[in-house]
Amino acid sequence: MDDLIKEFLVESNENLDRLDSELVKLETDPSSQDLLSSIFRTIHTIKGSCGFLGFSKLEKVAHVGESLLSRLRDGKLSLTPDFTSGLLAMVDAIRAMLGEIQTTEQDGKETYPDLIETLNKLQNQGLEAVPKASVEPLTPKEASKKGPGENQKEISAKSILPAPSTAQPEQSHPARPDSPAPSAAAQEETQTAKQLQEDPRTKNAAAETIRVDVHLLDRLMNLVGELVLTRNQITQFSARQSDANLVGPSQQLNLLTSELQEEVMRTRMQPISNVFDKFPRVVRDVATARGKQVLIEMEGKETELDRSLLEAIKDPLTHIVRNSVDHGIEMPDERVARGKRPEGHLKLRACHEGGQVLVEISDDGAGIDTARVKSKAIERGVITAQQATRMSEGEILNLVFLPGFSTAEKVTNLSGRGVGMDVVKTNIDRVNGTVDLQSYPGKGTTIKIKIPLTLAIVRAVIIQSSGKRFAIPQVNIQELVRVDASRIRTEIESVHGVPVYRMRGRLLPLVYLNEELKLAKQADKGVDEEEATNIVVLQANDHPFGLVVDQINDSEEIVVKPLSKQLRALKIFAGATIMGDGKVALILDVVGLAQNANIFSEASDQALAEKTAEALAGQDRSHADMQTFLLFAGPDDSRMALPLSKVARLEEFPAADVEKSGGEWVIQYRGKILPLIRLDVVLEERRTRFRHGHKAVAPDPLQVLVCNDEGRTLGIVVERILDIVDDRAEVKSPAVREGIVYAVVINDRVTELIDVPALQRIAEANRTLSTEHAEVII
């Protein structure tokens, strides 16, 4: 493409972006000659360049706009919302044509006759109705609010008329409101250009600013990434050397590289105003179309973040802003009826917080109706009615992030198209960010987005599993735990085969990395007990879990490289990196890993809640505070318990007294026949000794818990009676098999609570089975 045209495109796109915000600003301050002249100049420049480059259609559109503006500037006309809408539509048309030029080098076939007519009409109509229109101008209060000291805070969009009266160019007009995005290069430059043109003090800075191709910056960033890796290699090597001739320069290299990295990263940093500045226009469009009045306030526009991230959050933020105006903020009369000011308030705030960028979007609208969300979710089959009753307000709010969820009663052309908040969440997730939604019914909604400053280089901990190295981004890591070989037995326990680690009284589910990745265990790794266990405590979507690895190495700065398309389906990896020794290592994706290991499947959460409810109901303990438990050793030395209230007596019987009756094992007890249940027979998984072919050595005498269950007396044969304890017995984990109510921590050990009626059922079903083991029992 011709260099002249290229430059024209870059410049014009920049100017158009500025026009958007200036036009909206002008609406609040219609008398500002500065703004008017600047707008006029911009259009004039575009028109002039078009004529020169031979884009006649574009020139025509710009021409009508220019003549309308010249009348405004000369005070022959006063600005009304209709004018602004018309001019904004013109900006869109010009932008569409520029997009056309970008791809085809022609200004397209579209001549926009409607738009030109509308603008002409406005010009004439305005001439006739000057006195009437001039009464319209907007509240000076808002304009005066913007004092000179408040240049960060800005109140800019305001639509006073519920809807433009006759001419509605926005809707009749073929160009989409947010058609072709300006080229990346143009975006990159907007800021500099803006500073130059807006702030007279920096005017002479022009000589010190140059335009740089974004690709060049990207390439620089890549090269610096490589340099960092090489630096790491050299530092690793020189750490083992004693020659001062090497150690000195390599330390210097270390410092310089870090500095260079920082500076290059800064060249890619852009203020969030690049995105924020588009919102007054967006808000105005939506508000006007829906007949709402919305004030937008922005804070922290100068907050900087990497341009790739800026790109990534642009769409989600726009979506949230649209949503807030479209669905959040009520109609003016509705607001007045609720005792609020007729105009809604939308506040955007950005700031740095702990190495991350926090963006907050809050409105003072109706808030999210959780009842409606709930009924919608049930209607769409996202959750069942039963589940809904158990969900907390926060959980219900988070349902809006599920795919295909939109609560808008009416699907408008602006938002609520079914691709809603789930897209926002996916996009933010993709850049390792988080979205948090808070809603106060009748008061408003606040959405907080946290995103990292940059994506390219992250600090990561290198771990090893089965001889392979993996990197885990440090932000995901809560802590590192090493369990000594001597403590493994007591501290890593299992809840029905699911390994857990007791960390400060809470059960932390453990995931073995080698199992998740289906890696072969290393041959030299003998019995588990001989080695210490390394646990990396990770957090994925508020669910903590422990990742068991073989080795935890250093933390390092790594350059994240994306995986090629053949591997993108592997959610368990976030990318790859080159290590100090030149080898490639994979970066683990914590959320993907957790999903793979079913850490936060909703089903398991639900199961836990259900079991808890059942257990509590079954025991008639609505307030399960302190309970007395009988602790005993089950098969395989596992800890088990039974509420003491269920146990009538503890007895010892000589093994020889056991008799068989009707396929059931019984004993004579106080003139009655007492049926016996052996836990290791009933709880199938526990019968390791049968599986291994060992002959069970039944303890003699038998230790029996005599229980009364619904009028029936039965005996449960256990290995050993341990203790009677008082414990709060907070439910920690659901049971996955029959015969167990749930698992709790009692006296710092995982203990299973047995379910007597269920044991009885299993015993009955197993009667034939227990016959086979007759010789074992006695």
Partner: protein, 151 residues
């Protein structure tokens, strides 16, 4: 005179394949490879090519041929693709050959299996047949990924 094409040739299990020369970034000897757990079988792993991470595709596996003998290191034909560089792992590298369009033929209808999917056609050389590789197809992994959250 019809147009001539240059092909970078290589061998897989005695079969001669070719990739258009302009698609080839470089040919390189064995590079240390990092295997990727749970990845499709066709993907042999990741390699560090002077700071660039490239994905290795084992062409033998892609074509359903028997695996390379233990200890026989593959050669890497690094090709440029829209999605970054990819290395096609082959047995042996051949010469660069120049062919004209006259010698080209569509693959015979009777040719079945994976080979048909990944070749565009055949050039009849003096004593051999040169299979023209469809690089796009060759980089596709037909196998579904073994992991991905659902089990």
């Amino acid at each position: 005179m019809s147009q001539s094409h240059q092909f970078c040739t290589f061998y897989l299990d005695k079969l001669m394949f070719g990739v258009e020369l302009e698609k080839v970034q470089e040919v390189i000897r064995y590079l240390e490879i990092t295997e990727i757990p749970l990845a499709p079988r066709v993907v042999s792993g990741l390699m560090n090519l002077r700071g660039q991470i490239i994905t290795g595709i084992d062409l033998r596996r892609r074509l359903d041929l028997a695996d390379r003998a233990e200890g026989a290191d593959p050669m890497n034909v690094v090709i440029r693709s829209a999605d970054g560089a990819v290395s096609l792992q082959v047995d042996e590298i051949g010469d660069v050959v120049e062919v004209t369009e006259e010698s080209f033929e569509r693959p015979p209808e009777t040719l079945q299996g994976k080979v048909r999917d990944v070749i565009l056609g055949i050039h009849k050389l003096d004593r051999r047949l040169l299979h023209v590789l469809n690089t796009e197809k060759a980089c596709e992994t037909a196998e579904t990924v073994t992991s991905g959250g659902e089990r």
